[in-house]
Subunit: 336 residues, 4 copies
Amino acid sequence: MKEPIRVGLIGAGQLGFWHARCLAHDIQQAELAAVVDPNEEAARRVAALAPGARWFTSPEAVLSDPSIQAVVIVSSDATHAELIEGAAQAGKDIFCEKPLATSLAEADAAIAAVASHGVKLQVGFQRRFDPAHQRAREIIAAGELGPVELAVATTRDPLEAGRPGPGGNGAIFIQTTIHDLDSLRFLTGLEVAQVYATGSYFGEGSPEEDEVDTTAVILRFQTGALATITDSRRAAYGYDVHVEVMGPKGKVQVGYEQQTDIRHFSAQGVCHDHVYQYIDRFRGAYRREMEHFIECVSRDATPEVGGADARAAQALAEAAARSLREGRPIDVPLPA
Amino acid sequence: MKEPIRVGLIGAGQLGFWHARCLAHDIQQAELAAVVDPNEEAARRVAALAPGARWFTSPEAVLSDPSIQAVVIVSSDATHAELIEGAAQAGKDIFCEKPLATSLAEADAAIAAVASHGVKLQVGFQRRFDPAHQRAREIIAAGELGPVELAVATTRDPLEAGRPGPGGNGAIFIQTTIHDLDSLRFLTGLEVAQVYATGSYFGEGSPEEDEVDTTAVILRFQTGALATITDSRRAAYGYDVHVEVMGPKGKVQVGYEQQTDIRHFSAQGVCHDHVYQYIDRFRGAYRREMEHFIECVSRDATPEVGGADARAAQALAEAAARSLREGRPIDVPLPA
Amino acid sequence: MKEPIRVGLIGAGQLGFWHARCLAHDIQQAELAAVVDPNEEAARRVAALAPGARWFTSPEAVLSDPSIQAVVIVSSDATHAELIEGAAQAGKDIFCEKPLATSLAEADAAIAAVASHGVKLQVGFQRRFDPAHQRAREIIAAGELGPVELAVATTRDPLEAGRPGPGGNGAIFIQTTIHDLDSLRFLTGLEVAQVYATGSYFGEGSPEEDEVDTTAVILRFQTGALATITDSRRAAYGYDVHVEVMGPKGKVQVGYEQQTDIRHFSAQGVCHDHVYQYIDRFRGAYRREMEHFIECVSRDATPEVGGADARAAQALAEAAARSLREGRPIDVPLPA
Amino acid sequence: MKEPIRVGLIGAGQLGFWHARCLAHDIQQAELAAVVDPNEEAARRVAALAPGARWFTSPEAVLSDPSIQAVVIVSSDATHAELIEGAAQAGKDIFCEKPLATSLAEADAAIAAVASHGVKLQVGFQRRFDPAHQRAREIIAAGELGPVELAVATTRDPLEAGRPGPGGNGAIFIQTTIHDLDSLRFLTGLEVAQVYATGSYFGEGSPEEDEVDTTAVILRFQTGALATITDSRRAAYGYDVHVEVMGPKGKVQVGYEQQTDIRHFSAQGVCHDHVYQYIDRFRGAYRREMEHFIECVSRDATPEVGGADARAAQALAEAAARSLREGRPIDVPLPA
């Protein structure tokens, strides 16, 4: 067995915890070497998952540690681009949660840094590692539906009292819709030509300018295929990701609703529970994407979902935000 | 268009009402000519479904009316055999709800009367006219499962406060289980070699001797194939008929749970309603069996489910009652 | 029993046949008196459903027959408005399949004629008579979801070889999407403020100008609630109508996929069939809407879904066509 | 963190591999110290899961190693009892796959050894650690169904070409049905009073005496509640465990059919895949039962499912085998 890849994790929130757990326990080829979080308590707690892991409240020590080969960035969105650039300069391979940056310009700078330093970059579009999404893509790629004509994607996040809104300027498109945008590119293999997006704000308090928590988007692909995306942060029943893709020979429908495989029949009808948290829906996908990253680092291979895909989805999310702002469909250039 | 078949309906309860409605409104080739029920109010109400239909509180006038060609017997079980014999003597074609009689000996007498007077007899095993059961039989008969090896049948009747128990001497087998017994013969095309049955009584009050409202039965078919049947009168959630049949190449599963095609998602989970009454589950099957009967009368054809099938299921129900009483499996002779 | 309402049916195609069947057999208070179709064979065949029904190849004889109290218009869309006006002048109560007309101006003229002659008008939005849609509306109206925030509606028509496209100028919005537009107004109780629509053509041959057979629409309601609608004429798997409506307390999801209640398990997985034709999905709803119409005529009541609702949906369909043509969202005035 | 529990695994087959994987990677408190299998290759391969794990082809070295605190026995059924006795004498805590032994007498001897040496014993009834089964038990124990009246349990194992039959003397009851027997005891909290069992052999070749691969069982509980169990080794569609339990207030139904959360709609209908292997259905349950065992060892607690439950299920399986042999229901004494 080769030496394990020593990994520094930056960001010890809920998803950071899960990535750390996978690195520490599930992925033999990885070693969780260090954990960084401005919250000392969080950093300490996550570092405790692996014997020998150190913890820090800022990333410098990790970036400057030559024994650390790769970093996993799960910090707040606004910090991603700078951390990517820093890690690239330090020669670390990089796994970064989506989005790469909060603007396309910053994303481009980060991607350029990755390229110029010759490090690897994988971005956290975990739906690509979900078996159902993968099977859907296989069916579509094999032509079993015929050419894609129409798709319907939905994402619902649980309504959480007190959770702040996504922020102004259509930030939800970068935070949430970006998953649907990537998923539709992944599933259909098509590029988007035009985006129309609108949204509303139903949360508590006054929204910022162009802050929306409920959105509807139409994509027109270059083939003329169409897709809708609806996202909401306000689902009482839990976390829900569905997508269907249709062609002239049929459709595939990905998604599920049940968490515990039991139904209760009574005079009130038939009831079952529903997946509540994203981590429950995509637990396996998060593990598989991290396995893929470590394997790419270990075997010196290129991750399947890197800067180009991240940039393409980010460009679409920005187009959606602009469409929201301008109230009209926005044409999108072909990815380079 | 030929003259419609004039039909006398005997028994104006819930199912009688439905049969009358089909005869009066749905089946062009039939004319509801008369309705008989000891309850004058019921007879009158059901007769009102068809312009010109007469009503009576006893069956003589119907049996002696030469313009009436066929009778539909939906009266209480204990009256079936005598009514069949009377109708046969009067030369009427007969549709009779299951069971033919409350004992095998009486059933044989009724069948003999039918034969000696050369009239037609169809028995009310409506599951045979349910599209899902029919499709299951087609799949099995086409060999798509391979030879049948195992089947699981379940029937649940809704729990109704104040409803009397089925009665002693294993009467539930004749009243309810007989449907499962017939359905399994229909689906598998096999004959039963041995029956083991047991049961319990959970209803209010003291049960009669060998009165059970909850049963479990094992059938061994002559090929060695096995089946279980469980029946209960005590379902809080409604009416439920399921059956699965398995062979070495796969299985079919018949049954459904939803009445209104809507699901409600909330913080309490995902809920839908459930079929509550037998009439809602088998509405179409009741209509189709009656269409089949009228068509057989009209075209002088033999109904698909007649005395032989009724007798076979009745013999199995009697064997189940005997097994309950004696606490051992009962061998069953091949139907003649 | 009152005298039955004598009805003249205009249009003897597939849906005309079903309406005729309901009038002839299911609805006691109705009498199918006459059938009109330019195709003599079709008119004759449908008239044969009722003893004594006459048939014609043009509507004059029906409109001038004083014994006929009501007409059911199921002819081609382009004839609706003129027939409504003629029937109104003749003092007949009117059931008309959607759409009322092929333009809003014509629809307004037809509605004006109905008003000035004091006859009744019901329009064929049968989804309003589907138990699942009705239950959804009840749940929403009772506030069980909280205020509506987001809805997703989908309609898929089966792909039929050789079937002509819907025609130019966004005709699909008037033909198909109008059902979703009405359904969303019915379910949410909200009025639409803005429509954005786009579409593509995937059928055989060259499309007419602005002819699309695959569409995506976003509605913004006056409350800020959003909805998407996707429609396609090209479903290989059959007919599919789904709609979900969400608020902060939950969602309802209407729709179903299975036609025969049987599943087949094999080494290839688990399979069941799918509803193929609209008539199978909405058979009961078509009957109930006609019952409602006859009851309104019989009791001199106002049909629940009349000119105002028809006009509102038509205005939205026209806005969708205009949005398709102009490539921008279209503001919609409040219905008068 | 306390020192991890050093565990010796005996039996390196498919399930042994999974247990080893959990011990090596998932359970922090455990250390996979040694692997035993007569097949050197298998032992070596499984030992490779943990750095430092040793491997052996016979268990003596493990049993005599004082640094090893616990053993996990996943070897062939016939070796269980002797290994339990040996491990108990050596003072090791024991996790043993069901069954404890191939006869009740041997099981009793093994349980006695465990008691006299004061070690812990957990038996591998993993269904008790499945969230759906656990939720069902909670619902039942809370009285939400009322007193249990009827249960239906089904287990289907995939048909595998060339797999040997279960063996004579009703061995399938000890190998497979024992899971259903334990599950029904666990879910209902009731004890069985009487067992009736029958079976057939449909496999290739000639069966041994009383060798069956397809079974049907009826249990009568001491309260009069009834249950059926059907088991088959011959499912073309995969692995399937379902159970429903009913009382006068409703029922719970545990089980699921889908492996990948995707459905494929085409002109052939709607299809999805099915769980194929037991390991896929109960992966989490296997991990949780092992976590429970390690935690009990670590905290000096008594495992929730130990010798008494194992003995009770084994006694029922023996009664089933006897019922098969003698063709009559067998009364079962209350567990001591």
